[in-house]
């Protein structure tokens, strides 16, 4: 920790219909945000299998963000509701595995909310910069 040159790597799994459009809008609106994100587009946030998140952490991500449409706005009716339930449990599971809270996040960002996208990413990068690179020190079961 405390590595000054540390640049967090954040994997973003974004839904095509909302968050990905918001990211696009942020770009066309010339909004500035930290370049620490790698965005993966999925058709629905419900497609973001929890395995993807674990795989991302294993392959060097310091943080993972799953983002999709607001509840009730899912293009596939209720895909994001499955995401909601999965991420609630996944957050717990990752914590048990020793991955600090804050490294994994789920957000609802609509196609119009380019500003929210910028805020979320900026905040997450700062938070993970404070946490430092993900080095597995131990499991999280110690409380």
């Amino acid at each position: 920790m405390g590595d000054e040159n540390f640049e967090p790597k954040i994997v973003v799994i974004a839904c095509h219909w909302c968050t990905y459009q918001a990211i696009n809008l942020a770009g066309t609106s010339r909004f500035k945000y930290p370049p620490n994100v790698r965005v993966i587009r999925v058709m629905c946030s419900g497609r973001s299998d929890p395995q993807f998140v674990i795989e991302a952490f294993r392959n060097g991500a310091d943080g993972v963000l799953v983002a999709g449409c607001h509840p009730g706005d899912c293009h596939y009716v209720n895909g994001n509701m499955k995401t909601m339930r999965r991420t609630v449990l996944l957050e717990k599971m990752l914590e048990q595995m020793g991955i600090e809270r804050g490294r994994f996040r789920r957000e609802w960002i609509s196609a119009a909310e380019a500003k929210k996208w910028v805020d979320v990413v900026t905040e997450m990068v700062e938070q993970i910069r404070k946490l430092g690179p993900l080095v597995m020190r131990s499991g999280g079961g110690d409380g």
Partner: protein, 323 residues
């Protein structure tokens, strides 16, 4: 034709795998007819030096159960890998880490602290902990070290085949051993058992509706299960849909939902995540706060519920070694 040489070895295991091997019963005679057993710590007296004396590659197949927890396990499996043509991971622990891998959620320090100081039955006023070197009556002893994490076998040596289960059934054990001994080798990395989910061979599958939607989930001890109706529809978590078949649904026939010991089907890297995902899909709650409340009330412990046998495979400890 000379007899094949077979070695059995145990690492961090409970002894259930040995039990399963002995449960081969009369098939054991077929085994000794076809093969010489050159190492079998549970039943026969061989020493490590005996194995060291064998030429490299002289053992035809080494069947290893248990996870890798101690430095001794690591040394022995590396030795056996060198001496053997084929290495088979036998049972959940060797395959995916098994139940002992749940300790990966704790640090080595906190495991020692509990086991040697805090556990209610411990009487250890000097607070002694296991040491690698100790001297006793002027004799220097060297003991195996406790590693930081429990690893499945294939994290330590190359593994050719896997026999899943906690423990594997005698049928699947014999199917695997006889196919290997007869030279009918499946492709490398093959996991014995079915490549479809357990539900396909479950006798209760007929009663499973197209869509399962539950408002809550119950633990098996909280209800009297109807043995003729899919356990999931009765509101009890059964890992059948996310678990490899091949056990012939033994637990379910014994009135117990599946806990997932055969591991994931091909193509799934982490069974725990898949199970968590499946559980999220059958619970029918769309309000986040209500769902969080339910999870808290039920005391859902995602690792214990969904990753009971596979944490060794899913542990993200690799990062520590890489950086």
């Amino acid at each position: 034709m000379p007899k094949a040489k077979v070695a059995f070895y145990w690492c961090a295991s409970c002894g259930g795998c040995e039990e399963a091997q002995v449960d081969l019963a009369d098939k054991l005679f077929d085994l000794v007819e076809a093969a010489d057993i050159v190492l079998w710590p549970v039943a026969m007296d061989f020493k490590r030096e005996d194995v060291e004396r064998m030429p490299d590659g002289s053992i035809d197949v080494a069947i290893i159960n248990g996870g890798i927890r101690m430095s001794e396990h690591e040394e022995m499996v590396k030795l056996l890998r060198r001496k053997s043509k084929l290495v088979v991971a036998y049972g959940s622990c060797a395959h995916m880490g098994g139940i002992p891998a749940l300790a990966n959620a704790y640090t080595k320090e906190s495991i020692f602290k509990y086991a040697y100081e805090e556990a209610p039955t411990v009487n250890n006023p000097e607070g002694r902990r296991p040491e690698v070197r100790a001297s006793f009556d002027g004799v220097e002893l060297e003991l195996p070290a406790f590693l930081d994490y429990l690893k499945p076998l294939d994290e330590v040596v190359e593994v050719d085949y896997y026999i899943p289960g906690c423990p594997p059934t005698p049928e699947i054990t014999w199917e695997a051993i006889s196919s290997i001994l007869s030279g009918k080798l499946p492709p490398k990395g093959h996991v014995f058992g079915s490549d479809r989910a357990l539900c396909y061979e479950c006798p209760l599958n007929e009663t499973k509706p197209e869509k399962i939607s539950l408002d809550t989930i119950k633990r098996p001890h909280q209800i009297v299960l109807d043995p003729n109706k899919c356990y999931l529809t009765q509101g009890v978590l059964c890992m059948g849909p996310v678990t490899r078949g091949g056990c012939k649904a033994l637990c379910i026939k014994g009135n117990m939902p599946c806990t997932g010991c055969f591991g994931p089907v091909d193509g799934v890297s982490y069974q725990g995540a898949k199970a968590l995902s499946f559980f999220s899909s059958i619970i029918n709650i769309d309000d986040e706060n209500t769902f969080r409340k339910l999870v808290e009330e039920l005391g859902v412990d995602p690792l214990g519920w969904f990753a009971k046998y596979c944490l060794g495979k899913g542990t993200i400890y690799r990062k520590k070694e890489e950086r």
